[in-house]
């Protein structure tokens, strides 16, 4: 389980996170939602250690990640997979090399074993045969899927996903959501997803944390979200006419 305790993050004069505490459920899809500038991505980056919190602590299975130095964090980091908003694939490497990169650095597998693992991950994200392509040759949806394949190549315990649906058409977005959800369930991964896509919220939101003005405003599941009387959350979730109509039907 991942837990954050009283996280503050300040950039200069701008206090982005204002004392967030939350527990992310093991083996579930945990969604962090909120409007633009609410601090979703900053919280995610504080959890994975890309930003150091100004105050507060992050725990991975009760190990205090915040107090560890770079070397001490490495064993936990090898258990982390992350899909970035723009996939962040290594431009100079092929798809196969991208997938084998962490395996080359952190495992003693033979080349054949690493290739087998890479092919397995590609098969899992329905990208068989794209081994020799470079990221520049892939579509947005394919990049996301390669990003997911790379994130699971080390069989992670924790999966972090930043805006998985950004720049994708609705159909591909749903496919990506389903893929992440299936992987979470299949491998019992603790997944933390930052999103503001309402299809994701309703579709795969086992546990949802709503951030507003840098604070945790609401916490619950996708089943509870339709019936909440939290004004800010309602305003955020049911902002579109489509979602409003869906709510009325519920």
């Amino acid at each position: 389980m991942i837990e954050v305790k009283d996280i503050y993050k300040t950039f200069g004069e701008n206090e982005v996170l204002k004392g967030i505490s939350a527990k992310f459920k093991a083996g579930k899809n945990n969604l962090i939602i909120g409007g633009s500038g609410s601090g979703k991505t900053t919280l995610l980056k504080c959890i994975v250690g890309l930003h150091e919190p100004t105050k507060g602590q992050v725990f991975f299975d009760e190990q205090n990640f915040t107090e560890m130095n770079f070397t001490e964090r490495v064993p936990i980091r090898t258990e982390i997979g992350m899909l970035f908003q723009n996939s962040a694939l290594f431009d100079s490497m092929t798809v196969e090399e991208n997938l084998m990169f962490p395996l080359n650095l952190f495992t003693d597998k033979t080349k054949a074993e690493k290739l087998e693992r890479a092919n397995f991950c590609l098969e899992r994200v329905n990208l068989v045969g794209s081994n020799k392509l470079y990221p520049a040759e892939l579509s947005g949806g394919m990049k996301k899927r390669v990003g997911i394949a790379r994130a699971i190549s080390m069989q992670p315990k924790y999966l972090f996903v930043d805006e998985p649906n950004s720049g994708l058409d609705p159909k591909t977005s749903i496919l990506i959501d389903e893929l992440i959800s299936d992987l979470t369930e299949e491998y019992k991964i603790t997944t933390v997803i930052v999103t503001h896509d309402m299809n994701s919220v309703m579709g795969i939101g086992d546990h949802i944390i709503f951030l507003h003005q840098g604070k945790k405003w609401w916490e619950g599941s996708n089943k509870e979200i339709a019936h909440t009387d939290n004004a800010e959350l309602n305003e955020f979730v049911f902002a579109s006419k489509f979602m409003q109509a869906a709510k009325d039907k519920i």
Partner: protein, 243 residues
């Protein structure tokens, strides 16, 4: 300024931490050596031949006198090529070709979150990205300078061969007359220092890029400008200390 210097030193310290896996780093070093060495061979060859030829022609032009032996032209061309033209001009050209490439490559990796991806995996990003470039720089720049010296002196030979001011025999005699090996040592030291300066400064500029494509371009420009200034400053320091 002191803040940036401190950040630069800390980045260098991180760059030379023990690698996660030596074999992966070694293949990166080889890749960078090819990129810096083989990739720059063409431009270094062209400028060296021209610089050698021009240095010879201008030296001959300035020393037209019956009281000065013609062999002096070869000697002056040799010394100026080995001491200054080959290492320093080559380094300035390499700052533009290699330095901008390093700064923009690392800067692009920064703004597209590829460096974040490395860090998430537990990779020491400065070590993986910067140390192979520095190692390749300090090994390949001296080799390029050796090529430059040879081609520079060849360019001088071509210039005297094509003109009647100095005979080729006088030029060749001048090349070997009064040769002081210390100039080769100074040339080698300069080349190693320049290799380090170009790769480390440009890598630093790229690594701390913030923003988007505009900032990547600015980082590359800053990297090249700072490298050029530091090359000339180190040229002065080394010349003052060793000559």
């Amino acid at each position: 300024m002191f803040y940036s210097l401190g950040k630069y030193i800390l980045l260098l310290r991180l760059s030379f931490k023990k690698p996660e896996k030596f074999s992966v780093y070694w293949s990166e070093v080889m890749r960078e050596m090819v990129s810096i060495g083989i990739g720059s061979l063409g431009i270094i060859s062209i400028i060296s031949v021209f610089i050698g030829a021009v240095a010879t022609i201008q030296t001959a032009f300035q020393l037209v006198s019956d009281f000065i032996p013609k062999t002096v032209v070869g000697g002056i061309t040799r010394d100026s090529t080995i001491l200054e033209f080959s290492p320093t001009i080559s380094a300035l050209v390499l700052a533009g070709r290699v330095g901008s490439s390093i700064a923009s490559e690392i800067g692009t990796m920064r703004v597209t979150e590829q460096i974040d991806a490395l860090e998430i995996m537990g990779v020491n990003a400065p070590g993986y990205l910067i140390s192979p470039k520095i190692i390749a720089g300090v090994t390949m720049v001296p080799l390029l300078v050796i090529v430059s010296v040879v081609l520079g002196l060849t360019g001088g030979y071509i210039a005297v061969f094509a003109s009647s001011d100095v005979s080729t025999a006088d030029y060749l005699t001048g090349l070997s007359d009064g040769f002081n090996p210390v100039i080769v040592t100074v040339c080698g030291i300069k080349a190693i220092v320049y290799g380090f300066v170009i790769t480390s400064i440009c890598a630093y500029q790229g690594f701390y890029t913030e923003g988007g494509s505009l900032e990547v371009g600015q980082s590359a420009t800053r990297g090249v400008v700072y490298s050029c200034v530091m090359i000339l400053f180190m040229d002065l320091i080394i010349s003052r200390m060793l000559l």
